[in-house]
Amino acid sequence: MLTLMRKDLRVVAGFGWLIAWLVAPSYLVPAMSASRAGGTIFWVDVAFATAALVSVCLLDARSGADRFVHSLPVTRADVVRARYGTAVVLAVVVLGIGAAVGMVRALTTAAPGAAWPRWFAPDVGLAYLVVMAIVIAVYLPCYFRWGYGRGSVVAAMLLAGLVIGGDVLGREAGLVSGLAPRAAGLPRGLVVQAVVAMADARGLAAAGVIALAGAATMLAASAAVASTLYRRREF
């Protein structure tokens, strides 16, 4: 599994320069603008990590390399598990890049002694990991069931449905406004606000354990579904 993950990361690293050129402006523009733009950076992180994951899948599909991968001494289950591992590693790497951008911005623009921006805080980082776990848990079963093209479309529709549905549900139930104080720069979104509210209520450590355990459980269940869907795949 680790060899497959190294393979995935090595393959996507081949496009590192292209990704850097595309992503750097995406970070820099909101990072240099008003304080509310911090929320934008959060969603840039999510978009960047999702794009990196989709790129790994695209590279397999576009070059026909999936047949090559499956002729190597690996099982279909190995490939599924490794892709989940790669997705998590990519999400964490992007979180690190986003944190580095945020730190640079805070150090260069914040007044001496002032609190750091709300969006650049551990509880929001935790929320990012939960959001990415949801994205991965939805995207990869679709990819392994329907392949890159159709799988990406189905996953995009499902994720859009979750975002819209979650927002509507949250507003109807009065959750969005009630979950957490709308601190300046706090990214929008039901999951973000729920995680931040939990951290406020239970403390960061307890909220971290609960959120990460939930994310891990969700990914494990998703990987089991993806493995089952992929078992009969032929090349």
């Binding site: 393979k7 393959v11 026909g64 047949r67 090349f235």
Partner: protein, 298 residues
Amino acid sequence: MIAVAPRSEGGTMEPLLHFRNVSKRYPDFALEDVSFSLPRGYIGGLIGPNGAGKTTIVKLALNLVHRDAGRIEVGGEDPAEHEVAVKRRIGFVHEIPSYYEHLSLAAIGSLVGGFYPTWDAALYASLLREFDLPSRQRFGSLSRGMRTKGALALALAHRAELLILDEPTAGLDPVFRRALIERLAGYVSDGRSSVLLSTHITSDLERVADFVTYVRAGRVVLSAARDELAARWATVRGGPALLEAGTRELLAGYESGPHGVTALTSDAPSLRRRLARQDAVIEPATLEDIMYYAGRSC
């Protein structure tokens, strides 16, 4: 056709690859009841027209597709049950090698090497040099022949017990094609390794194959040692008398026209005895003859 002696002195008849009554059904094609064996230390040829099912057989050996019935063993292990162990024994070259287009052969080698405990990086580097391949050039920019050579270097560098080559000679220049065939003969000379060469270019197999399996429309038409084929299969040319009762039963296929009848037999000794006093020419059948005439009656 010349009878071929076993390639290896140490070759045994222990099967390295074994298919027994294997079936695989698609909506528009079915591979039915396929059985054949390839012993260690020998080269096996898988021949048949395009669409006959050769690539499906190769994919079944690698568990790239799932069989519906039958048993497959590679070194005594089932690829579906012991997938990783079986694939470590196999080096595979696809007809159109597909790797990551943006990576170089050097980078692909370092990726692939991690999957095989027996990977020999020095051997891989020397094979790239021997095949005149640019190790730093993007795989996507290589010609088809160079891609095949690269795939061959990858397959050879982990010292596979079973080398499976699916139409490898298409796209290769004649010089390298001949060198490849000679290399395959050397590859099995240790008596431990075998090669399964799937192709519809029968001249490649005439040079090296010890065993031949002929597949047509998803079924095995024949599977035999080359020397057995040489002894028993022949073409015969003669007049309409060839199609008379008693003789016709000895024919595996024929074609008749204004210039007479050309037929194939799988029982050359009997046919020679029967036609001893007739004006007929009997010659050893080439693999191409067998592919062309077997089952034909027009």
